[in-house]
């Protein structure tokens, strides 16, 4: 049994120290196998976590080539750079998704749950909805310069999920030939990918 294939809890200091254990821990796949699927405390596999409020906002901006829109935040900064709980306090998205007010030192101030209100915002709010239709975004430029629909789908998958689509996935989407429709379907595909747990969860 190699060190890496042993459960973390069974490893000893002879396995080149804690850093190696940690490194292995962080490399665990989120996909459980049949022996560890009910485990949530022994680091036998990764537990997906919802992106935090600022991470999510920044990730959508990076993936779509837009800027996070937070009042008081310079255009060239991401929302993780917000200096303290007072700045950007009026931002409803950050509030809803659990950016702490920093009233206490407790980590529990930050929330990472999912509820109907979150789903409503992601599905229908301005954060994702606005980013995908922004005429200055990457999707618009991509559809304009890339006549090959297959390549457009590939690029969108790369931008949002950091991987190419499978053949089956490419077959799921049809951008058509009409210029307006190509833009709309590309926007809608980006919207769907941004709303998938593959994007919204850290795994």
């Amino acid at each position: 049994m190699s060190a890496a294939s042993r459960p973390v809890a069974m490893r000893t200091s002879s396995d080149r120290g804690a850093s190696r254990v940690l490194s292995n821990t962080y490399q665990r796949s989120f996909a459980p196998n049949k022996w560890n699927e009910d485990d949530k405390v022994n680091f036998s596999h990764a537990i997906p976590r919802r992106l935090g409020a600022e991470q999510m906002m920044d990730a959508v901006a990076v993936a779509t080539g837009t800027k996070p829109k937070v009042q008081g935040l310079p255009d060239d900064l991401r929302s993780v750079y917000l200096a303290d709980g007072m700045i950007g306090e009026g931002n409803d998205f950050l509030k809803l998704f659990g950016r702490p007010k920093r009233e206490t030192a407790c980590e529990c101030e930050r929330t990472s749950n999912v509820s109907l209100a979150h789903a409503l915002n992601l599905i229908n709010g301005s954060m994702i909805g606005g980013a995908v239709i922004d005429s200055a975004n990457e999707i618009t430029r991509l559809v304009d310069r890339q006549p090959d629909n297959r390549k457009v789908i590939e690029e969108i998958y790369y931008a949002i999920l950091n991987r190419p689509p499978t053949e089956a996935e490419i077959g799921n989407f049809d951008l058509g030939a009409d210029a307006k429709q190509r833009h709309e379907v590309a926007q809608d595909l980006a919207w769907a990918l941004l709303n998938s747990p593959a994007f919204l969860f850290n795994r």
Partner: protein, 482 residues
């Protein structure tokens, strides 16, 4: 009561599932067949004997007005004009629509609607250990006492092993018929000290049953952009997006499975249904109400929250919980009910004008629209306040004109759905310190609400570990049904 058209007297017990299927009268109650089967599967209606049927299933909806902070029962709805100086307080007594029953002079509108309600003046419990707000709120919401209290008396932040609050339980067992928010909590989630949401979530029922937290002030224009379709997305396009999302997710079943406990998929489906139907957004639009009625409810967070509650119920929401807006602890300049520092000035000028414009208007408005017939209303705090002023019962310090926490005797108001009209149930002693007649545990009031909704309070629901847990371990107070 579950009554089947054409069969007078034939009620819930003794009607087989086959008969229900045949008669099909369930739609009148707003219950889908699936709900009925679900109820039946839990053994609810069939197990009730005739004596326990009084008031069963009279309510379709539930409005929970939670007066967080512990309002002073003596200075609102159980005045003691003959008690000694240090108990009586500053307010005079005024007569009400019920002969011989008085309320405090700071509640003139309440006095006019008491003929539609039942006051329960003998709510009482002895706390298990500490009686601070958090533990008391948890009990009032869930029917169970919390098991993990830190030495400071604070509870741990909410987690998925908590007991679910009553709204989540009801909305899960009786989901709304149409695409509507099942359970709305406004104008903010529960909060005590820095712990947000304890006792006010779906707990072990899972995230999908959490309330929709409005978290906005209904007295200012509400932002409900998340409930209406964006201008560039018409219905057809939203449907295309939904089907694309389905395809995207179907191609990654491993990830779907790994995040299944977050119920994102279930939420997305509900959210899509909601925005495509447009029903919720219109319910949140208080500008559709006459300005005079809005004035009557009161142009403040509490009043407009109650008006919004009525609109949501009309639009098909099953449960609305309105939390008293302020949570600040003991600050006499803020309208929080926790009046350690000064009870009378704030009550007269800050709290009671709001309570007295909002709550009575809600009762009268529901009644005028016929909604009170099938909507049960419960207004209560997590405890009352100490009859003696200036003494410490909870360990907090109190001024000479302040009152401390008092769970041993306080008052609740109930109305609607068969609850007695113009009744007073139970009686407190001469000083409002303990019940003199018919003590009622707050959890029995939760049981009464379940009962009114047509749900056996002893229905078993599995917790996060798969262990069966009763909704509440208490009996409904059947005498409350008039």
């Amino acid at each position: 009561m579950l009554s089947i058209p054409g069969q007078p007297g034939a009620t819930c017990d003794g009607v087989s599932r086959r008969e229900l299927l045949r008669v099909g009268g369930a739609g009148l109650l707003g219950l889908s067949l699936a709900n009925l089967l679900q109820l039946e599967a839990m053994g609810a209606p069939a197990t009730l004997d005739a004596a326990k049927r009084s008031g069963f299933g009279t309510a379709k909806n539930f409005i929970f007005v939670f007066l967080q902070g512990g309002p002073s029962h003596l200075d609102i709805w159980d005045p003691k004009p003959d008690a000694p100086d240090n108990i009586r307080g500053d307010f005079k007594v005024i007569p009400t629509k019920i002969a011989g029953v008085g309320v405090s002079e700071v509640m003139p509108n309440l006095a006019k609607v008491l003929d539609k309600t039942t006051l329960i003046r003998s709510v009482s419990y002895t706390p298990a250990g500490l009686f601070n707000h958090t533990a008391a709120i948890y009990q009032m919401m869930t029917g169970y006492t919390p098991d993990k209290v830190s030495p400071s008396g604070q509870l741990e932040p909410p987690n998925r092993s908590d007991y679910p609050c009553i709204g989540s339980q009801v909305a899960r067992i009786l989901p709304p018929a149409g695409p509507m928010l099942p359970f709305v909590m406004l104008p903010r989630p529960l909060q005590e000290s820095n712990v947000i949401g304890k006792g006010g979530s779906a707990g072990f029922l899972g995230a999908a049953n959490d309330p929709y937290y409005l978290f906005q002030d209904p007295n200012s224009p509400l932002k409900t952009e998340d409930l209406a379709l964006r201008p560039e997305v018409n219905q057809q396009r939203m449907q295309r997006r939904a089907s694309l999302l389905q395809k995207v997710n179907d191609a990654m079943p491993d990830i779907e499975k790994a995040v299944s406990e977050h119920a994102l998929d279930a939420y997305n489906k509900k959210a899509l249904e909601l925005v495509i139907s447009g029903r919720a957004r219109s319910a949140f639009d208080l500008d559709q109400e006459k300005p005079e009625l809005r004035d009557q409810y009161g142009r403040h967070t509490f009043g407009q929250s109650l008006l919004l509650a009525r609109r949501l119920i009309e639009a098909g929401t099953r449960v609305v919980q309105v939390n008293w807006p302020a949570v600040a602890n003991g600050n006499p300049t803020i309208d929080a009910w926790d009046t350690h520092a000064d009870n009378f000035g704030p009550l007269k000028n800050l709290h009671c004008p709001k309570l007295d414009s909002g709550l009575p208007t809600l009762i009268a408005d529901l009644d005028a629209r016929g909604l009170l017939q099938d909507t049960v209303v419960l207004a209560i705090g997590e405890f009352g306040r100490s009859p003696k002023m200036g003494v410490s019962t909870s360990g907090n310090s109190n001024s000479a004109k302040g009152r401390d926490h008092w769970p041993y005797c306080y008052t609740a108001l109930m109305a609607g759905a068969g609850i007695g009209r113009g009744a007073v149930y139970g009686k407190s002693d001469k000083t409002g310190s303990s019940p003199a007649e018919n003590p009622v545990h707050p959890v029995e009031l939760l049981a009464t609400v379940y009962h009114a909704m047509g749900i056996d309070p002893h229905t078993m629901v599995n917790n996060h570990l798969g262990q069966p847990r009763e909704l509440v371990q208490a009996e409904p107070v059947l005498k409350l049904f008039g």
